[in-house]
């Protein structure tokens, strides 16, 4: 074959290998094990089963700053919900290393519980009556509200300005219903576009395909740029709870005990302060 053809082929192979090698480059650093600090009390059967398996499998968000965020450079998760998972693991006698995180989206967190892939989901999951029928939820560990992210250039200052506009939401999240209720109350009409993942909604906002990006304010905080602003309007207070497979009462009670303890001894307040949450 011609020399130029060979050269082209070679350079293409080099480009591809460069990217692939960059991907190989990041390794997961190991964390030093924490000394166990929980008394070896009797664990309820459901919790004991998890301890015996040696792994606590937790579904978390990977793209929400302060709650569950995956650092691409170090391949580690960080956030308030991550810390809750660690606390849960340590409470049952496992170490931080025994926690296996799996990134979930609003669309995928339920099914992964149903099929037993995860023990618990701590991923900005709002407690709602119809969801209580499908999954076990813990007591609320945080309260947030649904907000709207708009581009500064759009001139939208509040909910009322959204009349006749398009709102982008995530499939399977509660924001769509929440916004619809508020729109009905304010007597305005909005239409919705649903996407599978938050980055897509953000891109749609940037390109103007949607006029507003609606989801819990905590999640929106991860997408604010100098171009966009979170509207002051907030509605439909959302209680976040840890979700577990329906019927996993042992684990649910165990989690609630942990929450109660954290709230009474100030650990919860410290945790929220650590992550700049109110």
């Amino acid at each position: 074959m011609k020399k130029s053809g060979l050269l082209l082929l070679l350079s293409l192979v080099l480009v591809v290998s460069a990217f692939a090698l960059a991907g190989c480059g990041s390794k997961e650093p190991t964390e030093p094990a924490d000394p166990g600090n929980e008394p070896a009390a009797e664990l309820p059967a459901g919790v004991q089963a998890i301890k015996d398996s040696g792994q606590l499998r937790v579904g978390v968000k990977a793209d929400v700053p302060n709650f569950g965020l995956l650092d691409a450079a170090t391949n580690k998760y960080a956030g308030m919900e991550i810390d809750l998972a660690y606390a849960l693991a340590e409470r049952m006698g496992l170490t931080k290393d025994d926690v296996k995180f799996e990134a979930v989206t609003a669309k995928t967190r339920g099914p992964l519980l149903d099929n037993g892939q995860l023990d618990v989901v701590i991923a900005t999951f709002t407690i709602k009556p119809e969801r209580l029928e499908q999954w076990n939820f813990s007591e609320p560990y945080y309260q947030d509200e649904v907000g709207l992210l708009v581009k500064k250039s759009s001139g939208i200052k509040g909910l009322a300005d959204l009349d006749g506009k398009v709102v982008g939401v995530a499939q399977g999240a509660t924001s769509r219903d929440a916004v619809q209720v508020e729109a009905d109350k304010a007597g305005i009409k909005v239409s919705f576009l649903e996407f599978a993942t938050y980055p897509e909604i953000n891109a749609a906002l940037e390109s103007g395909r949607v006029d507003a990006f609606s989801v819990d304010k905590s999640i929106l905080s991860g997408y604010v740029t100098e171009n966009s602003v979170i509207l002051p309007d907030g509605f439909s207070p959302q209680d976040y709870g840890a979700a577990m497979k329906k019927g996993a009462d042992d684990l649910t009670d165990f989690f609630n005990e942990m929450l109660a303890e954290m709230e009474s001894n100030g650990d919860m307040a410290a945790l929220l302060k650590k992550w700049n949450l109110s």
Binding site: Q171, G172, E194, E200, S207, G208, R209
Partner: protein, 235 residues
């Protein structure tokens, strides 16, 4: 009987439970609308793909380097990159380049599958033309046909017969690929199904019905492909 059914666990709970099916059929209108969008995008997309495929196929068999090179570049680009990134560019990148230019989602679907499958159809047409061979083309030219005339009256009709089976194959792929609209909130059958299923978790029944509808759209074409294939072979 109702009591018997109520006792079968599989039908009362789980992904395929009866209440889920009931919810689905109560909302079946959504799926129908989506199906209509799919049919619309598929038919117009198919027309576009055929047109592009024919033009590009002829261009890539031409003796002149510029059309041949252009067709080659087009085909290689669209065959080697995912439909999804092409659609993303149409959806998000274009409004950013030309502020305010929002190509309607349905048009994006048509353009997306049309241009993508146009590349594949171009290759099919090219193979068909080349299988006819230069002899016929030269004979036609020596008889006084212009290049375009020779193509139009002599080469292409013969090539069509060879080319029809793989083209109908591409048509089936095209119909299925309209499902990419689901990822950009395009209102097609897949989006409608996914949107409904995602709200309450009724994935089982929804996907079965969605699959069934796609199957009904594609199967007749697939059978047509096979009939055409056996006819060509018999020839």
């Amino acid at each position: 009987m109702a009591d018997l059914l109520a006792n079968i666990d599989f039908l009362q709970e789980g992904p395929f439970s009866v209440p889920r099916w009931e919810a689905l059929f109560a909302n079946i209108g959504q799926l129908w609308q989506g199906a209509l969008v799919t049919v619309l995008v598929a038919s117009l997309g198919l027309a576009l793909a055929l047109a592009l495929g024919t033009v590009l196929g002829v261009m890539s068999s031409s003796q002149w380097r510029i059309p041949r090179g252009f067709a080659r570049g087009y085909v290689e680009f669209f065959q080697n990159t995912p439909l999804l990134i092409q659609v993303f560019m149409l959806y998000n990148a274009i409004p950013m380049l030309v502020p305010g230019l929002f190509i309607p989602v349905i048009a994006i679907g048509i353009l997306g599958v049309g241009m993508y499958h146009g590349a594949y159809m171009a290759e099919v047409v090219r193979a068909g033309i080349q299988s006819i061979g230069h002899g016929q083309l030269e004979a036609a030219l020596s008889q006084g046909f212009s290049y375009v005339g020779a193509m139009r009256y002599i080469i292409i009709p013969q090539a069509m017969r060879i080319v029809l089976p793989p083209l109908t194959n591409q048509a089936v792929s095209l119909i299925k690929n309209t499902s990419v609209l689901a990822i950009i909130a395009g209102g097609d059958l897949m989006y409608a199904g996914d949107s409904f299923a995602g709200r309450y978790g009724h994935y089982g029944p929804t996907y079965i019905v969605v699959g069934l509808l796609y199957f009904l759209m594609c199967f007749p074409l697939a059978r047509l492909t096979r009939r055409l294939e056996s006819r060509t072979r018999a020839n």
